[in-house]
Amino acid sequence: MAQSDMNTSDTTRPDRSARLGGLIRQIPTRVWVVGFFLLLVPSFTGGFVQYQIFGWAFVLGLIALSLMFLGGYGGMVSLVQMTVAAVAGYSVAIFGTSGVSEISMGWPWYVAVIMAIVMGTLFCVATGALAVRTEGIYTIMITLAIASAFFYFTRQNYTVFNGFTGFNRVLPPPVFGIDWRAPTPFYYLSLFCAAAGYFAVLYVSRSPFGLVLQGVRDNPRRMAALGYSVNAHRIAAYAFSGVLASIGGILLVWSNGQISPGTASIGPVIDILVIAVIGGINRPIGAFIGALVYVLLRTYSLDFLEALNLSGERFKLLVGLGFLIIVYWSPDGICGLWERFGPKLKPRSARGREPGREPGREPGREPGREPEGGNDA
């Protein structure tokens, strides 16, 4: 646990404005640069890039970020995050409006959105409550089981989930008279949510709660011996990640305009893990980098493959190959590559201090965790 950013010893003055100033000053230059660049993207790109590339990447990145939070800071690899997003997505359709007027309740959009976040988060907490008693591979298995159960259930249930067809015409509300599905508004909407999620994760990870969560990840037995309820902290982490995934799910439905069981079938469920790992599961920014790479591959590999006279279907092969290469060469994902080679290009690069951990530690494998308490010797 190399997380010394919480820095209980730093000497920021206690008064509020100074602390806020301190927080802003902590934001490194590269974040400002990236931020300004992203704000300006619509000025030199077309609707396709704004909507299909960046918009989609922000949304998938937000869902992957929820996985990254649990995996990177909590040591729990949860495959249920896309399902949580789908629960929220279905909730907007069910509580709000859709083309399936027999089921949709037509509540005002803000009520539907709040209900969606509540339902998604509750679902995530319930999954967490089941999963926190397991570890490592078993966490992956139980969350995958829940994800596939949800998929099959929605396919067969017509009274609530409208079965195979799901819901169409689930559209964002025209707040301020803006069509939020138009490329540029959706770009800014998803950028705003992604940035909010990113900074929320950074903030939480450096708060006492975040520090405790990382303690639980590295050394649950010791944390219990310090008076912390290990499971309660893990479940709280699921709750926070549930909020992130739910917001991502709402945006996902709005951008697609529809939701059906396929949204959370096994493929997309696994893709979220792939995205987080490709980007680097130990850094919040990794989720977005991974999502961007995934979306680019998915969008352009078709042309690329067809140019090579291969079937466009093979894009999964490309993603899989990329996944393999990354996992093999850099368990820390693209962020890890940057960290390894970046300093050589730029001598004073601020080396990622984000949720650091000892090198070589894989998420979901806690050395401090032994079966049945174990003994010290």
Partner: protein, 261 residues
């Protein structure tokens, strides 16, 4: 097992700080602990001696709830905590150190102690970062001073010497308001000067704070304990004052003379 004669601490409602009733622990076919009965008064300083594999660490694990005993009861200040998870026992004033240091290697000394202070206070889920005037930050600094670690306050645990890590283990166990601290071989592997420092830390602890210390070195045990419990093969073999234990012919034959088996 005879009742202890009434002594100091008994005025607090005849209550024991720690009472074990028939505690046993099996690992498969191995009886690591068999029918252990112990009573420790508030403020008492008890040493536990015994050869390797006698079950001393297992005894601690059963007391703190790191794992549950196979049979028997654990009472902490009169309350039956046998079914309580570890963190509930800690919040009631029980503390422990580990024979093999269990520290957060990637954190500074101060952050380690801060985590310990936070664990036994309210606001364990707090999202607000502490400022230097924070009560818990200051409490952590106080403990760092008690454990003589001021000069390495901001050093990463992985950069500490072995002896400093052992002292940090003790600092973690003193967070909050401990009523009984279990120390698992805090002196093992220390140099003579570090050992001296450890003894002085223990002797400076406030009088109401009891502890149980596992110690292989009889000389250290005799200098820091009011009473001694000898364990052998998962059972309590002898209990008495340090002098009684030291002069007991059976103990001498088994432990002092015979060395470790």
């Amino acid at each position: 097992m005879m009742l202890d004669p009434p002594q100091k601490g008994d005025e607090i409602g005849n209550e024991y700080a720690l009472e074990l009733k028939g505690v046993s622990k099996q690992f498969g076919a191995l009886n690591a602990l068999s029918d252990i009965n112990i009573r420790i008064k508030p403020g008492e300083r008890r040493a536990v001696l015994g050869s390797n594999g006698a079950g001393k660490t297992t005894l601690f694990n059963c007391i703190t709830g790191d794992f549950p005993p196979s049979a028997g009861k654990v009472l902490f200040f009169g309350e039956d905590v046998t079914e309580f998870p570890a963190h509930e026992r800690i919040r009631r004033g029980l503390r422990r150190t580990y024979q093999i240091s269990l520290l957060f290697n990637g954190l500074s000394v101060h952050d380690n102690v801060y985590l310990a202070c936070r664990g036994v206070s309210r606001g364990r889920f707090s999202l607000r970062r502490p400022h230097p005037g924070d009560a818990l930050v200051q409490a952590a600094d106080g403990l760092i001073a008690i454990a003589n670690l001021e000069n390495v306050r901001d050093v990463m645990v992985s950069d500490l010497s072995y002896g400093q890590q052992r002292q940090l283990e003790i600092a973690l166990a003193l967070a909050g308001a401990p009523r009984l601290v279990l120390l698992d071989e805090p002196a093992a592997g220390l140099s003579p000067s570090e050992r001296k420092e450890l003894i002085s830390i223990l002797n400076r602890l406030p009088e109401h704070m009891g502890y149980v210390i596992i110690e292989h070195d009889m000389d250290v045990a005799l200098r820091v304990a009011d009473r001694v419990t000898m364990m052998h093969n998962g059972r309590i073999f002898k209990e008495g004052t340090p002098q009684e234990i030291e002069n007991d012919p059976e103990v001498q034959a088994l432990y002092l003379g015979g060395g470790h088996e």
